[in-house]
């Protein structure tokens, strides 16, 4: 279509390389193009895994491309799929699947082919597996879960008397006990005991914390089909008041952006840090005395916000043949070797990995593995998922609760209004096939 001309231009450099040889066999090797968005510690881990794959598959010409995380990546991937000349395999946050026109921008997996390479449905947590489906077909194969966890500084917590004899954090239940623990840590430091991301450009931290605590109450935000608001005002308000109280009582520093939050905890200026597990490599490298555990039950359960990296097959007009087969085998190979991936903090979605001794010995990465049964992904709607409109719009609103620019009541009203606007906006790709 002419309308995607701008997109074709943006992708020119990539497709020019892609056009050098027809898809399939080139110079006796099967070409396998793979797009992903892993930078930082994840990027290093992924590169090592890809090297190992290439070594063990001399007949495959693996062409991996690392693209900028977040919306630029998804824009490129969508346009590549629309043009039908996409890479053989790519990574997608599974929460973005409803907004990614499965069937049009993505091709379904051939589950028989995957089973030939030893990967079947039984190897995954059922809920996660189901999130990869649309219209009765499997479009996404989960690689991991990356939940919100609780980091704690072992030295500070020990001085505050919060650790048991084995050096593990004594579990707490309910807001009072958790707040008491933060206060105790704060007294040791002489400042706020807890670190959270409260603001910044496209800040998502406040959304993650709200969604975690709100989900702990058992309430939902959208109906199952993602078309109707089901927000429980009373429970949402309780959570927002709790977030505001953290600021008001000096339990957190109210103006902390993402980089500063990581900086504070790694320089020992925080007893606790609520964030995704992906910063584990940062803190291991910094040699800050820390460990990680599941976020405690604060509002009625141990559920936490999470997302899931998954593999997808972007739409190729001529999907099939050796390239497609290599893509399936590649996915199976990465899953079976996902214990390396776990080093970056992610909980592998491939259940056999969870039982491997190498994984169980990995500390603190395996300490919170039970969380995989209690994760809450973004609601299933086209505008939800990592770096989506939902996370960025509501993240900005809830940021105001931490910084003091919005009252909890005002934030709730604004969040509902923005959510309604998103619900009223038709899915740009139309109803999913």
């Amino acid at each position: 279509m002419l309308g995607s001309l701008a997109g074709a231009g943006a992708l020119g450099a990539l497709s020019a390389a892609g056009c050098a040889a027809p898809s399939g066999v080139a110079s006796g090797k099967t070409r396998l193009r793979y797009w992903h968005l892993f930078g930082g510690g994840d990027g290093v881990t992924m590169a090592a895994m890809l090297d190992a794959y290439q070594q063990s598959h001399p007949d495959v010409d693996l062409q991996a491309a690392t693209l900028a995380w977040g919306s630029p990546y998804y824009t490129k991937l969508a346009m590549a799929g629309a043009g039908g000349r996409a890479p053989e395999v790519a990574v997608l946050h599974i929460t973005r699947l409803p907004g990614f026109a499965p069937g049009r921008l993505l091709n379904p997996f051939d589950l028989d082919l995957l089973a030939e390479h030893g990967v079947t449905e039984a190897d995954f947590p059922p809920d996660l597996w189901r999130r990869g489906q649309a219209g009765g077909k499997q479009y996404a194969i989960p690689l991991d879960t990356h939940p919100i966890v609780l980091y704690f500084n072992t030295e500070i917590c020990e001085q505050a008397g919060l650790l048991d004899a084995d050096g593990r954090l004594v579990p707490t239940t309910g807001p009072e006990e958790f707040v008491a623990a933060i206060r105790a840590a704060g007294e040791v430091i002489g400042g706020p005991g807890l670190v959270v991301e409260t603001l910044g450009a496209d800040t998502v931290g406040p959304w993650r914390i709200f969604w975690t605590l709100y989900s702990q109450t058992g309430a939902t935000m959208l109906s199952e089909d993602g078309t109707r608001m089901t927000l429980d005002d009373q429970k949402a308000l309780e959570v927002l008041e709790f977030m505001r109280m953290l600021s008001d009582e000096g339990l957190i520093a109210p103006r902390t952006d993402y980089a500063a939050s990581v900086g504070l905890f790694s320089s020992g200026q925080g007893g606790f840090f609520i964030n995704g597990e992906w910063e584990v490599s940062t803190f291991l490298n910094n040699e800050v005395p820390f460990s990680m555990t599941r976020l405690p039950d604060i509002f009625g359960s141990g559920r936490v916000e999470a997302d899931c990296h998954s593999f997808v097959l972007p739409n190729q007009t001529d999907r099939g043949g050796p390239g497609n087969e290599a893509a399936h085998e590649f996915v199976a190979w990465l899953l079976k070797n996902s214990v390396d991936w776990a080093a970056g903090g992610h909980v592998p979605a491939y259940l056999p990995t969870l039982e491997k001794p190498e994984y169980l010995d990995m500390r603190p990465q395996s300490e919170y593995r039970s969380v995989i049964d209690d994760v809450v992904l973004d609601p299933p709607a086209w505008f939800a998922g990592s770096a989506s409109a939902l996370e960025i719009e509501l993240g900005a609103v809830f940021s105001g609760v931490f910084t003091g620019s919005r009252s909890p009541e005002n934030a709730l009203a604004e969040a509902k209004s923005r959510l309604q606007d998103l619900l009223d906006t038709p899915n740009p790709f139309g109803e999913t096939a």
């Binding site: 309308g3 997109g7 346009m79 799929g81 629309a82 921008l105 103006r255 409109a389 740009p428 790709f429």
Partner: protein, 318 residues
């Protein structure tokens, strides 16, 4: 030139200019001019006129970025845009930035030009130092300033203030009160050199005898500045102000790199909203409609510019 068309050139040169009526001009243009301008016209039509018209068409549809569907929706997108509070708030951010940046950029451009014009020692150094930032790309400038002011408390600026015994604790980019000002500060540092250069050239063109005559009549420095320099710079000021308005209305790079539009969308300009709607929200049709509303605003400013320059050309033909 004379070697390329020896046959055609002599008769035209010998023609007196008066009988060159509109018809002959048009004929000459079709005979020769068209050939020479055609390469440009093709590029112009392909990359400017056609996208402009195609954009209008897109703005009347609900087209998505992947082009999977495109239905005609009439003026719905325009109606939606005019009732979208994010359009208005981002438009206001753009205008607010334009106001905040244009005033210091024009005034400081003039002040620096006056200084450089009158400072007689190492004048090349002043000219160089004020103009150099302008040649840097926006990405370099923004990253440089991020090092200076970010993160708060750890950046170079805070270290310096700390050394001077001040502890302002300013959230340069994280506080809604200061974020826009930080972007303005960066922009002023970056582009003031251009206005400086225009003013300096204009200052050097003011005939020296005017000042000498005024001095003989006993006019002081301030009087000479007010009655000679400023009026003689009128035309330049008009050009500088309008060029600056147009440049400031296009604000995008600095905000995108430095704040991402935050905190709480307080620095998000309308161009970024267009970008977000189209490229991350995938709604190209709606994004086109917003950009045409903004386009209308730019056209109005440009028309004022044309008007001003035409009037001043009539007043003092070059």
């Amino acid at each position: 030139m004379s070697t390329t068309t020896p046959a055609a050139a002599p008769p035209r040169v010998s023609q007196p200019p008066a009988p060159a009526t509109a018809r002959t001009v048009r004929r000459h243009w079709l005979e020769h001019g068209l050939v020479f301008t055609l390469p440009f016209l093709v590029v112009y039509a392909l990359f400017l006129v056609w996208p402009l018209l195609w954009g209008v068409k897109m703005s009347l549809t609900n087209e998505d970025i992947a082009g999977t569907h495109s239905d005609y929706v009439g003026l719905d997108n325009y109606a939606d845009a005019l009732s979208d509070p994010d359009v208005w708030s981002s438009l206001w951010n753009t205008i607010w930035f334009t106001v905040l940046s244009t005033v210091p950029l024009v005034v400081m451009g003039l002040v620096f030009a006056l200084l450089a014009h009158h400072l007689r020692f190492v004048s090349w150094l002043w000219r160089l130092s004020w103009f150099t930032p302008f040649v840097l790309p926006s990405g370099v400038v923004c990253l440089l300033w991020l090092w200076v002011i970010y993160p708060s408390d750890f950046g170079f600026a805070d270290q310096l203030l700390d050394f001077l015994g001040l502890h302002p604790g300013i959230g340069w980019l994280t506080d809604t009160r200061y974020a826009m000002l930080s972007v303005v500060l960066t922009t002023v540092w970056w582009t003031v050199g251009f206005n400086f250069l225009l003013y300096l050239a204009a200052l050097q063109a003011i005939p020296q005898h005017l000042y000498e005559a005024a001095e003989l009549d006993g006019a002081g420095a301030w009087h000479r500045f007010r009655s000679i320099t400023l009026p003689m710079l009128n035309r330049t000021t008009g050009v500088v102000v309008v060029l600056q308005l147009l440049a400031s209305l296009k604000i995008f790079d600095q905000v995108y790199i430095m704040t991402g539009g935050g905190p709480d969308d307080s620095t998000r300009p309308i161009l970024q909203y267009v970008y977000q709607t189209g490229f991350t929200g995938y709604r190209v049709g709606y994004a086109s409609a917003i950009s045409y509303i903004f386009f209308a605003l730019i056209v109005i400013v440009s028309l004022i510019h044309l008007r001003l320059t035409r009037r001043s050309r009539e007043e003092n033909p070059a």
